[in-house]
């Protein structure tokens, strides 16, 4: 069975979001911006003015640093784009979503169902995961053009806020829904059934690590 394919605007309606199911494959159209720790710190902690009209221009926040350059004439070349692991940004996301109305958080690895229930669902937002990880060239093809880059002087190219126009950019996978369910936790639970058999006969380390857990259903995020 292959996953269902959906085309989605980066300023999606509440209905379009509610229709998404875990494991759907999504292709995006419209403006999307990159924002990760550098942008969050600058906007939320240093209270800098966000240089975009959010969410009217875009409700899609990509946890990404592109492999891109700014040419001498001010034009851009964007090669590959892939996401960075999102769980590290949980600290800033509730405030960011409240402030910017972001409804699509696009990244790597997703958040916990606790995060989804606490501030994704109340904000009408879902999480889209990139695929692979590392379909950077495919995603790069979905970048119709780079509209702007902000804060590159302050934050460097990797942390800057890139604004890109997506044209059937994808694939992405729907990793959370309006119930606050988490695709990765669903998959982890299935895999966990096998864990006891897998570890049979192996030997716990003679020297423990301080704070170590023996619960193999634990996650590092």
């Amino acid at each position: 069975m292959s996953p269902r394919e959906v085309r989605l605007s980066t300023t999606p309606s509440a209905q379009a979001i509610a229709d998404l199911r875990l494991g759907d494959v999504v292709y995006l159209d419209g403006l999307m911006y990159t924002a990760r720790e550098g942008v969050y710190m600058r906007a939320l902690e240093d209270k800098a003015n966000i240089p975009l009209e959010l969410p009217s221009q875009s409700a899609a926040n990509f946890h990404c640093s592109p492999a891109a350059r700014i040419n001498a004439d001010g034009s851009f070349d964007m090669g590959a784009v892939t996401a960075t692991a999102s769980f590290r940004f949980a600290k800033w996301l509730p405030e960011w979503m409240a402030k910017t109305g972001a409804r699509l958080i696009v990244g790597k690895g997703g958040m916990t169902s606790k995060d989804y229930r606490a501030y994704f669902v109340p904000n009408g937002a879902v999480y889209l995961s990139t695929v692979g990880y590392g379909t950077g060239a495919l995603l790069g093809r979905g970048v119709e053009r780079v509209e702007a880059v902000h804060w590159n002087e302050e934050l460097g190219l990797a942390q800057a806020m890139w604004v890109i126009r997506c044209n059937r950019m994808g694939p992405f996978i729907v990793a959370s829904d309006m119930n606050g369910d988490c695709l990765f936790e669903r998959e982890n639970a299935k895999i966990a059934e096998n864990v006891a058999r897998l570890y049979e006969g192996t030997r716990p380390a003679t020297m423990k690590r301080y704070g170590e857990s023996d619960d193999r259903t634990d996650e590092v995020i």
Binding site: A68, A80, G109, Y133, L198, T202
Partner: protein
Amino acid sequence: MDKAAIEIPQDYLEGLKEAARTEDGDLSSFVLKAMLENYEAAKEDRRAMCGDTGVPRWFVKLGNEARVQGGMVALEAALRRATANATNGVPLRPNRVHPLWRTDHDNNVGIGAPEIEYGFEPEGEWIDLITVHKGGLFGTDYRMLFPSDGVQGIKRFYLDSLMAFGKRGLACQPAIIGIGLGGSKDICMTLGKRASTLRVVGSRNADPRIAEMEDEFKAIGNSIGMGAMGFVGKNMVIDCNIEVGYCHTGGLPMSVHAFCLSSRRAVARIHGDGRVEHRTDPDWFTPYQRRETVDWEPQREAAE
């Protein structure tokens, strides 16, 4: 560096194609197909295969007769310049920042970056410039085990590492898993990293008992029930490479490294007469690199 960033090495590609053929998890299978399309797109468009272009670094191997014009300082300057040029040219993502001040020179060059490591071979007047662009902040771990932990302890830490970083696909699997056993702590990490990045899929350690472990560990990794992105599946490990080094008699240090879905490596051999040959097999772990004796006597080694 362009080649490394854009073209997936053939040995890994074949390993992944084989994985895609055998994968029956719906989502994992979709992911592997998307990855195969991605490598094609990268090659066609001449764009980096992954947006996280890793932390480019260099392994330099010199034949004993090789001499570098301008000396090793000139060589290091050239490698740093090449890194900056490729960052702007391909383009690569300027990943390298100061750990505290987060300063980014936008060229992947800075204090200690790119790393340049050296190896030597007893014969030859060539220099191998090996570039590896390993990505990922996850999938790598170290633990001090002890002789009493034995192979079952090694297995457990191996599984722990795959489980910990395989969930949600943080290790960007299926990967080439490198295991370092022995050495001191830093060398143990180095061995594991080199096992994952400087050996090709399908290669086996020269010690037949270690080679057997490599087969067994590959199979164990693929029996977890976890595939690409941590979805249900049966392909987690494209291959498992183990490298060893003599260690303290009381300990059994172990490291695990995952060389990801974008297993980027490329080699240029520069000959004394200026010819340049390109390949993707670093061929790092020669009998000389794994030697056990005080002096290098290849004939005696071969006879043993």
